[in-house]
Amino acid sequence: MSFLDNYIYYIGAFGLILIGIYIILVKHNLIKVIIGLGILDTGVNLFLISIGYITKGTAPIFSRPGIDSEHMVDPVPQALVLTAIVIGVAVLALALSLAIRLYQHYDTLNLRKIRGQRW
């Protein structure tokens, strides 16, 4: 059980990343591929946050004087993920707009039927 306690966040994060890659590789529907990208993004964010975690950690905010700074979690990954989430939303929107255009052009979202998207 101690193994699970130690690595449960890493397992969860890389589980999400592997699920995302699997969806991107296997699925034919473009919307599902974009959902896979979203899951991959979430997994990467969770991994970055869990790297900076400290056991029994608190948020790195000195909201009152004399607060114990020993157990504060690493602020750098938090700052990176904060911006990565917003950028992830924007990139997802860009991908969806490309999907809209592709559907209007080919009348299908099935990647097998679109020439040049098949592999």
Partner: protein, 226 residues
């Protein structure tokens, strides 16, 4: 066939990752830079929220780059969707009285909450990115609830450009006063008060305006298309 290849690839990836992950201990962050930010952050930047001082002060240039990425994504979405051949004007059924009144009551409250989040970014959890996302959710409510309403493109573009300009101009002022870009040249004040931390709250308000108007623009473009 494709499925088997994918599963094989993922298995190799998973084994490689799990071998390297056992070397990274969970629950003890060993980076010296994070420890330095926690120990010296309040003294050096005046912001009690260390995450904010990292985002805006220590790594402000990085954040400028990230805001630019967001800007490019929003522009790209606008360009991709604007090349549509025909803009079909659909009939819009007006919303019921309950829905539109509810939207009208809730919308200013959401705006006030979003502004609170980004103005107090250096004191409490939150900041420009989060506050901007909350403000964009308020505009999404208007688009879904009061369907005949549209925001003015000019005002949205103005808020976006002003946000970006304020960020860059403050950075250049730092260059002029102290010799490097995004220097915190304003007085730091006493920690844990609203007017403290020098340029940090100003930049976060600018980021809040920029992110809010960009996400609203994305929603606007996608709803026009539907």
């Amino acid at each position: 066939m494709r499925r088997i290849v994918a599963i094989l690839l993922l298995t190799i990836l998973a084994v490689g990752i799990s071998l390297s992950l056992t070397k990274i201990p969970f629950g003890s962050s060993e980076t010296k830079i994070g420890r330095h930010y926690i120990d010296k952050g309040v003294e050096e930047t005046g912001a009690v929220n260390i995450v904010t001082s990292v985002v805006v002060n220590y790594r402000g240039f990085d954040t400028l780059g990230e805001v630019t990425v967001l800007f490019i994504a929003a522009i790209g979405l606008g360009v991709v969707l604007s090349t549509s051949r025909k803009k079909a004007t659909r009939e819009i059924t007006p919303a019921s009285l309950v829905l539109s009144t509810g939207c009208r009551v809730l919308f200013p409250l959401i705006l006030v909450f979003g502004s609170y989040i980004f103005i107090h970014g250096h004191l409490t959890p939150g900041g420009g990115f989060q506050g901007g996302a909350i403000i964009a959710s308020g505009f999404l409510l208007i688009y879904l609830g009061c369907r005949e309403r549209r925001i003015s493109r000019v005002a949205s573009n103005l808020a976006e450009s002003l946000g970006g300009l304020v960020f860059v101009i403050i950075g250049l002022l730092g260059l002029a006063f102290g010799g490097y870009f995004l220097l915190n040249f304003l007085p730091k004040g006493t920690a844990n008060t609203l007017f403290s931390a020098g340029i940090v709250p100003i930049i976060y308000v600018a980021i809040g305006f920029k992110v809010g108007s960009e996400l609203t623009g994305i929603i606007d473009n996608l709803i026009e298309e539907s």
